[in-house]
Structures are given as C-alpha cells and as structure tokens.
Amino acid sequence: MTPYHRPVPFAWWLGRRVYTLFVVRELTSVFIAAYVVLLLRLLHTLTLGREAYEAYLRSLAAPGMVVFHVVALAAAVYHSVTWFGLSPKAMVIRVGQKQAPAGIIVGANYLAWIAVSAIIAWLVLRG
C-alpha cells in the first residue's frame, strides 16, 4: 500500500516571506558554486598561457559577466550573513559554567570576516 501524499504546489515557497528567504538562502550556493567554477576557468587559462589569460580577463568585462558577478556577490554576502547568524547555534562556547552570548560569537565571526577579506585583498592587490 502506498501512503497518500497531499500534492504540494510548486510555488509553496513564494507564499510566505520566511519560506522565500529560506529558498533564496539555499540557492545562494548555486551562485557561489558558479563563481568557483569561473575561478577554476581563470586558473585554467593561466596554464594555457598569456594569450588565453588576457582573453579571459577581457571576457570578464562583458555585460553578462558583470551582471553575474554583481548578483553572485549579493548572494555570497547573503550566505555569509545567514551563516554567521547561525554560528551561535552551531558552536556553543562555554566559559566556565556560562555560555558565551550569541552576540559575541556573531560579532567575532564578522570581525574575522573583515580581517580575512582585508588580508586577501592586500595579498592580491599589493605591488
């Protein structure tokens, strides 16, 4: 006997804001994955030589590529914000008998994010 499953409309996640934000949060991973594939493509052109690399850099200025990267940046930042927001639930830090307040854990994540981003930007852009 097959149990009955009530059919769920495809657009169920558009009905409520929290559901929509949940699906948007999950789908940020698609943009992040697409970006790392493009980064791999860039590294691949480096192995092919200067011509291929410079042609690839020029292709990054195409309107479609710029739009993709702007949307991907928004998606990636949304991922970071939601990920750090969940961090107090994912890692409970105890100090003696007390639990470290959620605000401090989230704040520490943001500080580390800023520091890591600044170091990477410096390494890539210096000189």
Binding site: F10, W13, L40, L57
Partner: protein, 116 residues
C-alpha cells in the same frame, strides 16, 4: 555489519564548505569579478604576477580548498532544495548528480592546480 549512512560525511563537507564560502568567497568575487573588469587594479592582475602568486604551494592548497569545498556545500544544499521544490522522485539520482558534480569539480581543480 550494520549499513551506515554516508549522510554525516556529506554534512561535514557541507558545513566546512559553507564556512569557507562565507569567509572567502565575497572578497574574491569583489576583486576578480568587479574590481578587475572595472579596470581599477590592472597591474595587480598582470599575467606574470598572477601566475607567480597562484603557483606558490600555499596558494595552490588555498585555491583547492576555496574551490572544492564550496562545491560540496552547493551539492548538499542543492540536493535538498530540488527535493523541497518538488523533485520527490529520483532522490538517489539527485544525490548522485549533486555529489558527483562536486567530486568531478574537485578533481578538475586538483588537475588544474598541479599544472600551474
């Protein structure tokens, strides 16, 4: 011997990949996808300079982590999103396609990075 679920393994890759993506991906998109085509830092992206920068062993290891783990993060989230959005049939095929895609991406990343 009991059959063990592989779920904790994929979940661990998802969690580590999500953390890697949260800390590292935004700045990389801003630099390589927006600042570079805008022409703000043209000298920084010169062929010889970028090749020297990414060829360092630590850079290669870093790039492998930064490319492969977010793919596993994607695979896990996308797998369950497809099911949530109504793809109830073929759960096994969805899982294989998603995790398989991430494994292939990780292998390609390793192949490119050893050639640098």
């Amino acid at each position: 011997m009991p059959v063990r679920s592989t779920e904790p393994f994929w979940w661990l890759l998802f969690a580590v990949g999500g953390t890697v993506a949260a800390f590292l991906v935004p700045v990389h998109i801003a630099l390589g996808g927006i600042a570079l085509p805008a022409g703000w830092m043209r000298e920084a992206f010169a062929y010889e300079r970028v090749l020297a920068l990414v060829s360092h062993p630590i850079s290669r290891l870093y790039l492998f982590v930064m490319i492969s783990l977010p793919l596993f993060h994607w695979a896990h989230r996308f797998r369950f999103t497809l099911i949530d959005l109504g793809l109830k049939g073929g759960r096994g095929a969805v899982a294989i396609a998603c995790y398989g895609g991430a494994v292939i991406g990780a292998i390609l990343a390793a192949l490119v990075l050893v050639q640098l």
